[in-house]
Every structure is written in C-alpha cells, then in structure tokens.
Assembly symmetry: C2
C-alpha cells in the first residue's frame, strides 16, 4: 500500500510557508504500515487541484488531501475530488445545522458562503471535526481495477492532528492489514555522520528486517530503528537487539538510548548525583541557559547564572579580575577558568560552566583578542576540586558557532559526569 | 510561465526531513517573474521519478529537480529525465577528469561508481558546481508543441544556492522576459492577524498591481508587498505608496518598515539614544538575552545580565530581598520591579528589564505562587527614574509562554523608547 499526500494552499507555494502537516501524516501512516511515496503541494486553483488528484489516483492506493476545506472561494478540494472521481456533491443537512449552531453560539449570522462546508462527496464517510467547522471525508472506491482510499482533511494543524488520531486512524486500522511496530532512537553529539556510519553500518546492515535511518544536524546524530512484525514482542526484540549491539560499538558516545535530548540527559544526571549547575556565558549570550531551562523542572538541578557580555560584568557577576581580561583577552583559557570558578562560587552551585569565545562576524576587540580567529571558543568546567578547560576552533556563521559552543558545553559536562 | 519543483530523495518522505530547497528556489523564481504552481517530493525510485518528471512536463513550463545527482545507485534524476525526454546520457570526459582530480587532491582513489556523476543529458548545458562534485544540467527543449526548460540541480543547500545564484539565474534572466521587482516588508508584534487584516485590507485591496501577503506567527505579523513593473522606479513607487498608507493607518504598531527584526530595532534604538541595557530573567531562563545577543554587534547596547532561576540567585545577582519573594512570590509585580531595578543598579546599565512568571507545565511552588495560573508573567522595566510593570496572562505550552514573554518584553521596551 502506498500513499500520496496532497497539501492544498497557495501560501505553501510562496518562499515563506512550508507544508508541515505531511510530516505528521507520514509518521501516522508509517505506523499503520503505509509508505508515503509522493507528496504534492498545489495552489488554490481548481484545474491544478483536479490534475494533482488525477495524478495521485494513478500512482497511489491512499490519497490524503490536507487543506482546501474552508468556506472561501479558494477552498476547492471538495470540488476537485468530485470532478476527478466523477461523483456529485450533496449538501448535508446535519452538517449545515451544526454550522448554523456554531455561528449562533458566537451570536453571529453565518455568511452564506459558509454553507459550502456542508458539501459532502456522494458516498463519503463524514469524519467529524471537533476542533473546526469543516468535517473531513473519506471515500473507499474503485478506480480502474484498483481499490483507492481518498481522504479529505482540514489544513489547520490543531484540527487535522486530533481528527486523524481520533477518527481516521481507527478507520484505517480496521481496513488495513494489521501489524505491530517497534522503534528505538539512539542519539550522539558532535561526531561526524561518516564516522558513525562507518562504525555502525556493518552492524545495522545485518538487520534487513529493521529499517535504519540516520539523521544528522545541529551537532547531533540520531539513529532511528523501526521494525514491523506480527507481534509487538517480536518487533521490540529485533530493534532492542540491534540497538544493544550499536550501543556496545559506540559506547559512551551515545548520550541517549530512549530519545531524550542532550539537555534532558545532563539535567537528569545532575539530579541523580544531587548536583546543581550554574553557567557564565559570554559569546553564547544566554543560549546555554535557555536550552537548559526549556526543559520542564530544570530548576531541580539548574540554579541560573550570568550573561557576561562585557569585561565589567565578568567582574561584577563572576569576580574575574579586570587585569586578567586585559592581559589574556576575554577569549582565553585563563578567563574561561576564572568565569567557571567565579560563577560556581557566587551561586553556591556544585558545578560552574563557562563559555567565552568569538562568534563573529567581526573579530575580537583591540588588545589580546584582536589576533584570535572567529570561532575560537573556550569552555570551562569547575567542580570545586579542579577546573577543566576545552578549546574549540569552529567554522561557520554566528548562529552556528553559538549553537555548537552550547552543544560542546553540554557534551563536555556529560562526559565529565559520566566518568 | 509556471514552474514545478521536484525534490528527489527518500529521506524527504520520512517524518523527519523537509524539502527546504524549494523555499529558496521559489524566492529566486518569483524574482524572475516565474510562479511556482506545483511542488512534488518523490523518493529514490526510477519509476516514481520518471512518473513525476512526466507529470511535471505536462503541466509546467519550467521543471527544476533538486537532488539525485550524487554517485550512489539511489541517485537517479539523470536517468529519470533521460528516459522521460527520450534522450540518451553521455559520459563527459571533462567532468570525468575533474572528478578524478578531486579525489587525487584528497589522495584517494575514486570508486568506479562516482563516474556516473559525469553523465550528461544529450544536448544539455553543463552548470558548473564550484561547491560539489556533481554539476547541474539544463535542457531547453520542445515537448509536444511547448517549449520546456528542464533544470537538474544538486540537493545539498550549500551547493544548490551558489549554483543557482551564480549560474542558473543569469541564464534564466537572459532567456525570460525582463521585468523589475520591488519589495517592502512591514512588521508588527503582538497584534492579532484579524485586527491587522481588518484595518489594512481596505487599503491594500486598492492596489491590484501589488501582491500582498500576510504572515503571522511567533507573536509577529508581517505584511509583504511585491510589485513587478517594467522599471524598478515604477515598481518601487507602488510598494512605497502602499507601505506609506499602511504605516499611517497602523502608526507605531509597526516596529519595522525595512524588514529588521524586533531585536535589531530595539538594539538600534538603544544605540541611537546612547543607552545600555541589562536583563534579569527568571521563567525565560536566558531566552531574552540569547535573542538580543544573536544580533551581531549587540554589545554596543547590551551589557549582559543574569538568569535568576532560584530565590537565592535573585538576591545574589539583583539584590531582591528574600522576604519579598517569601511574601509576594517570585511571580509578582513587586519582584519584577525589584529585579529590573536591581539588575540595572548592579550592571550600571541605563535600563534594566526583568521577566518573572510561570511557564508551566507545573504550577508555582508552595507559598504565594502556588495559586497563580500557568501563563502569569510580569515584566519590569527600570530606567533610574521610574519603573514600569506589565502583567501578562498567556495561554499555551512552556515554549509558547517563554517565547511570548520575551516578545512582550522587547515590545514593551520598544514602545517605552518610542515615547
């Protein structure tokens, strides 16, 4: 069974908007054992939509539309499907009544246009939408000699997601052959994708019945393993066996074997060891603190810290002597050490971590930092006994250097906690 | 002239990867006066690719492929286009030589597979790729009675972008009818899209020759105006006239009339007034500082600040009395005021801004904050003479509340500076 997803809406043919529903729909369909083979994005144009519907019906078993079910003249999915399948639309009195009621509840008069949201394809199952006015529709039909499922869904994410999960998925489960799916995700930081692949592909290639996907980006590599079997037990055993062998190969490079983020793992490790953390950030300007505090309940281990963007604030919040900055530059192992030790002492936390560096685009200010290259970053980690320093030499733009610096700081902390 | 963009690659048919090249390509094509009418995403499958190519040639004048030009067996764009157009591939000796040289320069032996990157469609113009091994190709041909341009481009963003800008765009400019395009972007924060539309649509609807697009998201509304005319002067005059009328209508709700971000505008206003800024963040945990420091040269106005996630740190970094937190709760106008005044005094900046609130998902800790709803946030702004406080009651998840809090803080600061 292969599917095609058609996203209808001219805004998705501008440089500003992506179709994102298809990512959700793809995950849901894959869970049901259906592969998505094509995605099409088409504007609010009856001829284009009809053409896209005809093409999709010729090459896919399941065709899912998202969008184009609204009340305006530009909402043409119903009309396009009716014309493509050669069936008519009827105005459903129950849906029409519920539309009138929605407006009455808001003490508004329904514009006549809106009545078209009650138009239903002859023979379609109505998929009740509890989060919006336009219901979805599904037609189970024969085109040529083949069975085709055509499903029309609304475009807004807050409508399509519950509608799919609560109404469409149970319907598809009942009509498609049953199978059970198991998944595992292993995550690693700061390792090149080619290294991971060279070390792991000899292993995962032995598992033809497990689908392996490698995702790389933002200083992280993810290995996704999926297996589909008659029973969940069988499927889980296969992905667990493969994940176990990869964990043995990659050892402590793997920070997460259940899908948690690096921030979550570090916070959990701190909490389990009854340790608290503070940060002093120069070039990352709050990014590390922001990443940590994005995790709910981060306050169990993270106390806070300072954004020390000037030499004065390095003194004010972390007791870094002015002369040290003048002698070595703010971007130096000496200042990284003093910042980490200073923020730890000031906040009374068990661990203090610091980041100081040149994120660009301009170089360092006059003085000792002037000669240092953009991308030079120092990380300091103080624990009260000793202080570890790491030098980075990153290449990339300001956003990239800031992100990777925060990623290195988290991984540096994790590996130190791991030992 | 209408275009279709075909993104080739099975990874874009998973729940994890989007086609993003098409956003860049759409912007470039629109600049050339070409509308994108369809986007198709297709996997690494010769039959599917050939079908997609055939469909695209039947409905678009310009068909652009991204991806599928690599050296592996899964890279099939060349073969699919050759088969669809009924032309053959020839192995180009100049490209082959340059492939051998690339490997030799890295002191590696080229795997025999890689030679297929030298395969060129008979009659194609070779588009030299200075950032990768696979060149692009363009064919200007007749299908049926219609002229068709078929363009094959590599998938990696760092290859396709310079290749399009430096090689493809000049070629298309030379072959397409000439026109000039002018653009303006107006940006507003924290206003509902429906309000903006109700007030501005009577104006922009008078300008049928200017394309207006409204984009809403992340606490911001953008109005994009585009006009295409025979001369740049004419086009610019039209968008400027419309933008001027919208600015008169929306007044100081518009923070940017040339496309700058809210962070950039606030930093520029501070710098022009010779003011400096510090921040004390509780629930946003560094997000506001991170947004400000993401702007290059933000240190001209932003000195830094503190992430005060615990009552202790509110005392340590901003001199907020422990008893005040105990009496009113950390999420209170009193603490917001003390934080803003305290961080300003500690850092010696002209202005101090604070954010304290409940971002959820859990409620406040036992004590005065326990009864306050998730989404309650206070912002304080101290300037040395008086301190302004703003109460927010936001609804949404943790990320949403944190983002909107930082957006409100920036807009609060902007409106205060504006007066």
């Amino acid at each position: 069974m292969i599917a095609e997803i058609i996203a209808a809406g001219s805004e998705m043919l501008t440089p500003h908007r992506q179709d994102t529903n298809s990512l959700f729909l793809t995950a849901q369909l894959n869970d049901l054992g259906v592969e998505v083979a094509f995605k099409t994005i088409v504007g609010d144009n009856l001829e284009h939509l009809t053409g896209a519907a005809r093409t999709a019906l010729s090459r896919a078993d399941i065709v899912i539309f998202s969008g184009g079910l609204g009340p305006t003249e530009d909402d043409l999915t119903r009309e396009a499907v009716a014309s493509t399948l050669g069936i008519s639309l009827r105005r459903d009195p129950t849906i029409l009544a519920s539309l009138y009621k929605r407006f009455a509840a808001r003490q508004m008069v329904m514009p006549p246009n809106n009545a078209k949201q009650a138009d239903v394809l002859e023979g379609a199952v109505i998929l009740t939408n509890s989060n919006g006015s336009a219901p979805g529709q599904m037609i189970d039909t024969i085109v040529g000699d083949y069975r085709k499922l055509v499903i029309l869904l609304p475009g807004p994410p807050r409508e399509i997601k519950p509608l799919f999960e609560e109404v469409v998925k149970p319907l598809l489960e009942a009509t498609l052959p049953s199978r059970s799916l198991a998944r595992r995700i292993l995550r690693m930081a700061l390792i090149p994708e080619s290294h991971v692949d060279a070390r792991t592909s000899p292993i995962y290639n032995e598992y033809a019945d497990v689908q392996t996907t490698i995702l790389a980006g933002h200083g992280e590599i993810q290995l996704h393993f999926t297996s589909a079997k008659a029973t969940l037990l069988e499927a889980q055993a296969r992905v667990d066996e493969l994940a176990g062998r990869i964990e043995a190969e990659m050892e402590d490079a793997i920070f997460s074997s259940q899908g948690e983020s690096l921030e979550e793992v570090v916070l959990l490790m701190l909490e389990m060891r009854h340790l608290t953390l503070s940060v002093a950030e120069s070039c990352t300007g709050g990014l590390l603190a922001q990443r940590l505090t994005a995790v709910p309940n981060s306050s169990r281990a993270f106390v806070g810290g300072a954004v020390v963007y000037t030499p004065e604030l390095k003194m004010v919040f972390a007791d870094v002597p002015r002369e040290m900055v003048e002698m070595h530059g703010a971007v130096s192992p000496e200042v990284a050490r003093a910042l980490a030790e200073g923020i730890r002492a000031r906040t009374g936390s068990s661990l203090g971590i610091s980041i100081t560096g040149l994120a660009g685009p301009g170089g360092g200010p006059p003085g000792p930092d002037a000669e240092k290259p953009v991308g030079r970053v120092y990380i300091g980690l103080a624990n009260g006994r000793d202080t570890h320093i790491k030098e980075l030499n990153l290449t990339g733009d300001r956003d990239y250097i800031r992100w990777w610096s925060s990623q290195h700081a988290l991984e540096f902390l994790r590996l130190n906690l791991h030992r």
